[in-house]
């Protein structure tokens, strides 16, 4: 943060908007209802593949309150939930009635629903690194398709007023939403305002305005009334984003000292009817894997295209690779941590993170794989990851008012990560004044532009932009003080709320200095062109302790230790919340979540929160977030994505350790645990 190298920046005050959220006062896009609002909703194909053959559009149009109905009889649908038309009406009830009146009938073609049946197992490579290796491991790991399941659905409310439009978007990119609204509103960016102060989750699925945003904009333009189009829960599962599944064939070799020699990885992504969502990440950045021959390919199913999902490609890749590494360590008779230290590329992890994490989880109690006894068996496992940085541009504005109050504006959104709090706390810290004097404002396209909440880049770029804006405003305030003291501006010193002359003879407190301003306020502008000031790679390792009931197959996660390099932590509570959140999503991915398709019709059979289970309060273990700081850490580092990457791998390795059979597939359901116990199979 150029050069905000003061780790004392960290504070433990709750996020600035906590009371609005706790009391229900925060208004999300889903809560907006401007007067005279109409509603729009897609008509969707229910099965894996096919088309609509009969639709009583006239009957649907006759339903009271219905404004418009369209069904595309030519559209060939390729996934359950594919939009094939739309309904616009005065109320949601009227839409419901129109859906029924449509009396849709379909014909369907055979859907592709089983990735395993479509997968061609590679031939086991021989020779090369495998010849004379001390240990070789070979296996095929599989992961499921997971939906983003944001609690606030995707959607927009658009109020088109001819020459301007006001838009509320449930989006993780204010400016992406602004850009996307230009076409369907027929307006210039200067005529559109996008609000997204409160966004009910995104996790990678809320880039772009989506079909629903496009529909709301077009219908608002057409009828010159505010129009709301939000997905319902089944639409969220079907067409609101998913993490691709994977089938990962891995064969790895190591020498007798535990050095990885290399091997073969055939990484297949299960991607629905089109590409997206990051596939499976290659993991050469975490470990030196030796000479790896890698292929990447895709299997298409009749399901929605994937979207980026919190660390796209990573959790699935780390699950497979860390499983293979544990299997290799076991073959070599090495402790899994000692084995990783032989091959890890990160000094931070090798020198500190493994030791700290191992101590906190109680690694010394870990028994060799499969030697635990009794009905309920305890196991320990770990997994490593990193998240990189890249150039990110972000702007900010800061007002200092004559009253002594400060307002900071950054246009980017706050999807729950704490952007409001970040800009407020950074500004207060930079000025050395109390947070209560500062109002941070975000989520508004009239404010300076910045990145979307993807790739964990908002905090690391909004922080330096805010610092620079505040410094610019402070400079102008200094000019007022200089003029009062009749000295050069450069000779006015400032620190912790007090202005002074170089010799300290004259002093002026913050409030009195602000009162000198000739105008009501001064405005400073700030930018960053890189968003990487003092930042860097976020190395991390997570450890898991589990208990496995060998009679029922039920896995209980007892404890997770999450050791993360995060650089300067601006706010301790938002840091802990986001790390714990990443871990909990990882637990949910490891144990529960799974899109199930009907092999006959291709319909998703669990497109709700009854059959699609996500982690609940009874599934939450003790979670210990550990901030790993080095003296050289001077900027904000990413934590949103890395916090969810290694959790599933650590849990799977802990379960394998407990039962003595490798877990080869997510989610780790009781049936799979029992099957693994039965066969003692897996990677050999």
């Amino acid at each position: 943060m150029n050069p905000a190298n003061d780790v004392a920046l960290e504070n433990e005050r709750p996020r600035v908007d906590i009371r609005q959220k706790i009391t229900g006062a925060a208004r999300y896009t889903a809560d907006q209802q401007p007067a005279r609002m109409i509603f729009a909703k897609a008509v969707r194909f229910p099965y894996g593949a096919g088309k609509v053959v009969s639709a009583d559009v006239e009957a649907a149009k006759k339903v009271k309150g219905v404004l418009e109905v369209e069904v595309d009889m030519e559209e060939v649908a390729e996934y359950p939930g594919a939009p094939i038309g739309h309904i616009v009406a005065e109320s949601r009830a009227a839409i419901e009635d129109a859906e029924e009146a449509l009396a849709l009938k379909f014909e369907r073609t055979a859907p592709k629903t089983d990735p395993v049946a479509l997968h061609k197992a590679p031939e086991s490579p021989q020779g090369g690194v495998f010849e004379g290796a001390a240990a070789v491991v070979e296996g095929t790991w599989r992961t499921q398709v997971q939906t983003h399941s944001c609690l606030e659905p995707h959607g927009s409310v658009v109020d088109h007023r001819g020459a301007s439009a006001e838009v509320w978007g449930s989006t993780q990119t204010t400016f992406g939403h602004l850009d996307g609204m230009k076409g369907p509103t027929g307006l210039d960016a200067s005529q559109i305002v996008v609000h997204c102060e409160y966004v009910g989750g995104g996790f990678g699925s809320k880039f772009g305005i989506g079909r629903e945003g496009d529909l709301a904009a077009r219908m608002s333009k057409k009828y010159q009334r505010p129009c709301k189009a939000m997905l319902d829960r089944s639409e969220e599962h079907l067409d609101g984003g998913n993490r691709p599944g994977s089938i990962q064939y891995i064969k790895l070799a190591a020498d007798k000292d535990g050095k990885l020699l290399g091997g073969r990885m055939d990484l297949v992504s299960i991607v629905g009817h089109g590409r997206g969502g990051g596939g499976v990440a290659g993991l050469g950045d975490v470990y030196d894997l030796g000479a790896i021959e890698e292929t990447e390919s895709e299997i298409n199913l009749n399901f929605a295209k994937p979207r980026a999902f919190r660390a796209p490609g990573w959790p699935q890749a780390v699950f497979a690779l860390e499983g293979a590494l544990d299997a290799l360590a076991a073959k070599l008779g090495m402790d899994p941590i000692a084995f990783r230290i032989k091959n890890d590329k990160s000094q931070r992890r090798k020198e500190r993170q493994y030791r700290v994490g191992a101590d906190l989880i109680g690694w010394k109690d870990r028994k060799p794989d499969g030697t635990a006894t009794g009905r309920v068996r305890r196991g320990f496992g770990m997994g490593s990851a990193l998240w990189p940085t890249w150039p990110t541009k972000c702007g900010a504005q800061a007002d200092i008012f004559r009253s002594g109050r400060v307002e900071v504006r950054v246009g980017v959104q706050d999807i729950g990560t704490g952007t409001f709090t970040l800009v407020t706390d950074v500004a207060a810290h930079e000025l050395g004044i109390d947070r209560d004097l500062v109002t941070g404002r975000v989520g508004d396209s009239r404010f300076p532009a910045g990145p979307g909440s993807g790739g964990s880049q908002v905090s690391r770029s909004a922080a330096p932009a805010t610092v620079n804006a505040v410094r610019d405003a402070l400079d102008q305030l200094k000019a007022s003080v200089a003029s009062e003291w009749k000295i050069d501006k450069e000779k006015v010193k400032y620190g912790k709320g007090t202005f002074s002359t170089e010799d300290g003879a004259k002093k002026l407190e913050w409030a009195k200095a602000c009162a000198l301003l000739a105008d009501e306020k001064v405005t400073g502008n700030g930018r960053t062109e890189t968003g990487t000031e003092g930042s860097g790679t976020s190395d991390c390792v997570q450890f898991a302790e589990v208990e496995v009931d060998t009679e029922t197959g039920i896995v209980r996660v007892k404890k997770i230790v999450a050791v993360h390099a995060a650089g300067v932590v601006v706010n301790r509570l938002t840091f802990e919340n986001q790390i714990c959140g990443g871990v909990i999503q990882g637990i949910s991915y490891a144990l529960f979540e799974n899109v199930r398709l009907d092999p006959k019709t291709g319909a998703m059979v669990n497109a709700d929160f009854i059959g699609y289970k996500i982690a609940g309060s009874k599934d939450i273990p003790e979670i210990v977030p550990v901030l790993d700081v080095e003296p050289g850490d001077t900027g904000v580092r990413p934590i949103g994505e890395p916090s969810t990457i290694p959790t599933a791998a650590a849990i799977a390795n802990a379960v394998s350790n407990a039962i003595g059979a490798r877990i080869m597939e997510l989610p780790i359901t009781p049936q799979r645990v029992l099957a693994a116990l039965e066969s003692k199979g897996g990677a050999a």
Binding site: P14, R15, I18, R19, Q20, K21, I22, G24, A25, A26, A30, P46, G50, K64, G81, A93, E96, E99, E100, L102, A103, L104, K105, F106, R108, T109, L151, E152, Y198, V199, G201, F203, D232, R233, S234, I415, G416, T417, G418, L573, E576, N577, Q578, C580, G581, G582, Q585, S588, D598, T601, A603, V605, A607, D608, F609, I610, I614, G616, S617, K618
Partner: protein, 219 residues
């Protein structure tokens, strides 16, 4: 292409095999008897206090009528159809948007309100069945000094990320702390098991509810 409109359990007139429609679901769980489905840890609204008020209602018909609901201690007139849920009446009719529509099938707890002091999921209750009963929403809880410890405890522990699920947790916690004034950590986990949070804020929620209990709980 195989022609198929005969899916077991699906209605030939409106094939939605991925999800039961709201109306058929409401009918299926017997809401006409005035019962809201029950979540783990969330009470039933089945007490027959007000069924008389709505006994003559055609639950599948349309057309609006005005009803008076007692919400947060005051009467509120709202126009509803017989099929309108309590959640829809609160959010759309009365602009009380604290309760959220998330699953719309009683499985996430985000729409929880107090009904005669019991936490119920308002997406599974018809507005007409709430006539004559005492409804308290998160807005009412936030404004009531009885619940100050709860609101403060959750705020102090930063018990929200995106925040969309939190109003439901607040309402359920209000009931929970009344029935369980000195909860253990396991009590809290079990007590909040009917609510879902996607951001994974559970750890802070547990801390916030424990802190609220330590401050003296709810009155």
């Amino acid at each position: 292409m195989s022609r198929d409109s005969e899916i077991p359990g699906a209605r030939a007139t409106a094939e939605r095999p991925w999800a039961t429609s709201r109306r058929s679901f409401l009918k299926g769980v017997g809401l006409a008897a005035g019962a809201a489905a029950v979540l783990p840890g969330i009470g039933s609204a089945a007490e027959p206090a007000a069924t008389a008020a709505s006994a003559d209602v055609d639950y599948t018909g349309d057309g609006q009528r005005q009803i008076t609901l007692m919400v947060n201690g005051a009467p509120a007139v709202v126009a509803v159809e017989p099929r309108t849920t309590l959640l829809e009446a609160l959010r759309t009719g009365l602009d009380l948007t604290g309760a959220k529509e998330v699953c719309d099938r009683g499985s996430c707890g985000c729409c929880t309100v107090l009904l005669d002091g019991r936490a119920v999921v308002s997406c599974l209750m018809l507005a007409v069945d709430a006539v004559g009963r005492e409804i308290v929403t998160v807005e009412g809880i936030a404004a009531d000094p009885k619940y100050k410890n709860l609101i403060d405890g959750l705020c102090e522990h930063d018990a929200a990320q995106c925040g969309f699920c939190i109003p439901g947790f607040v309402v359920r916690s209000a009931e929970f702390l009344k029935s369980t004034p000195n909860p253990t950590p396991d009590d809290i986990r079990a007590g909040l098991a009917g609510n879902v949070c996607r951001c994974g804020t559970y750890s802070k929620l547990f801390d916030g509810v424990a802190a609220a209990a330590a401050k003296g709980g709810v009155k």
